[in-house]
């Protein structure tokens, strides 16, 4: 690790002031990704601003009937929170599909959104990487890339966003609350992460002097019919080759509303509006699911996840058999 300074933020305004005054500084909460990147010399912050003492660790009901999740709520606490388990089980399941319990105990809600790609070349400072060093080239495009992006790529970068939690948040249409010099703003989840285009070094639309304070979930949680299916090389504690988050609102055998998002296949969680449109208004049958799954890659995974959600038998994250 490089020689860096360490300070604590006393409140959100202080955090914003500190980061604005030192653009090479980084916020640190769980540290599960940042410290690793610092050990690999990929991240070299001038200073770490410790935000773990800020009062951002509550899960609260909002006026519209949704939930507001503080940015510092640990991933493990969120996955086991009674309101999340009961009303947003898709989110609970996606969180439990990711990382290990030790990492989930450490990792924060806000930090999960800001974790960086696990592309091997991004981590290996001896190889070119446009995300790490803009203009140096992409080693993955002609390299080992079976776990890389297949949707929304550019000629500069084929990295994926590694989060499972974010795939569920995309499907649930969450909002990200961020505070900067000009006060708080709300960012739709679909607008939070970026595609690589010609600036793959920029992962999100969060401004450099902003801090994530909370995630807001809308009231609708698709608790009756959902499933999160993660396909990976190892059955636990591995990043997704592809993951599928499905939420269905079914009445009298007809799909009133469908949500479908893919993980591990793009630079951001990949919401599939085309498939959702195919599903909406159609009977919740295998034929409908086959049609929706034909739109894109990951066909078998999508078909299976839709079937699990419609049956009301979501994928268990402990029993590895895919039923």
């Amino acid at each position: 690790m490089n020689n860096f300074g360490y300070t604590r933020a006393s409140d959100v305004a202080d955090a914003v002031r500190q980061i604005a005054a030192d653009p090479a500084a980084k916020f640190i909460a769980g540290g599960t990704n940042l410290i690793d990147l610092m050990k690999e010399n990929v991240a070299r912050p001038s200073r770490l601003i410790d935000i773990t003492h800020l009062p951002l660790n509550k899960v609260e009901e909002t006026k519209d009937g949704g939930l507001r999740i503080g940015a510092l709520v640990p991933n493990s606490d969120l996955s086991y929170h009674p309101q999340i388990e009961a009303r947003y089980p898709l989110l609970a399941s996606a969180i439990l599909a990711g990382a290990s319990q030790q990492l989930r105990n450490m990792a924060s809600t806000g930090g999960n959104l800001l974790q960086r790609t696990r592309c091997f070349y991004f981590y290996d400072t001896t190889t070119p990487c446009n995300k790490r060093e803009p203009g140096s080239g992409c080693s993955a495009i002609e390299g080992i890339n079976r776990g890389h992006a297949i949707l929304g790529t550019s000629k500069h970068c084929i990295a994926t966003h590694p989060s499972d939690m974010c795939v569920a948040l995309a499907a649930l249409e969450a909002c990200v609350l961020a505070t900067g010099k000009d006060g708080e703003r709300s960012i739709k989840f679909a607008d939070f992460h970026r595609l690589p285009d010609d600036t793959p070094n920029i992962d999100t639309n969060l401004r450099s002097d902003e801090i994530i304070t909370a995630i807001k979930l809308p009231p609708k949680g698709f608790a009756a019919n959902y499933s999160y299916l993660k396909i990976r090389d190892r059955l636990s504690y591995a990043f997704a080759l592809v993951s599928i988050a499905v939420g269905l609102d079914i009445a009298d055998g007809t799909i009133k509303e469908a949500r479908l998002a893919l993980g591990g296949v793009a630079h951001k969680p990949w919401r599939n509006h085309e498939a959702e449109a195919q599903l909406s208004g159609a009977p919740a049958t295998r034929e409908t699911f086959m049609r929706a799954a034909e739109i894109e890659l990951a066909r078998r995974g999508i078909l299976r996840t839709l079937t699990q959600a419609a049956r009301g038998t979501p994928q268990s994250q402990a029993d590895k058999r895919i039923k």
């Binding site: 020689n3 604590r8 493990s76 450490m106 402990a318 029993d319």
Partner: protein, 182 residues
Amino acid sequence: MVQASSAVPKQSKKFSAPAKMTASLQVNGVKRTLTIAPWTTLLDALRLYLDLTGTKKGCDHGQCGACTVLVDGRRIYSCLTLAVMKDGAQVTTIEGLAQGSTLHPLQQAFMKHDAFQCGYCTPGQICSAAGLIAEGKAHTADEIRELMSGNICRCGAYPNIVAAIEEVMSGKGAEKSGEAGR
């Protein structure tokens, strides 16, 4: 408490001497005050400065689990934790699980079930299992396996590790320490 911003000098572009800071941790029930550089991980602080070498450094990247300790009762990876960030926290390592000469039930069960070969991952496995039991979310062997997946065993002692944890969770067998291990 470590003082905030004003206490830390601005970093120069050139290499400068480490700005050391003070952190007090309650380690296995004993208050330990450290004067350390901010980049000292909790793992290095335990091993290098507190001579608690039971906690192991495996991958040093949060992928193997050998460095698992309990901080304020929750299992975490000490290799990805900065010691200065845990000022005021309670830390329990493998050295702190036994009560005097009486081993922790998990330590007894690991011996009874031969839940290790080389033993390098064992302190992390046992601390992780203690965290798992405190969480109370695992009720079946499948759930134990899933929630213990953050601890890798290169020798492949997994079936015996699961058996040892199942036994302690069931509340049976822990008292049979007389025959432990053989």
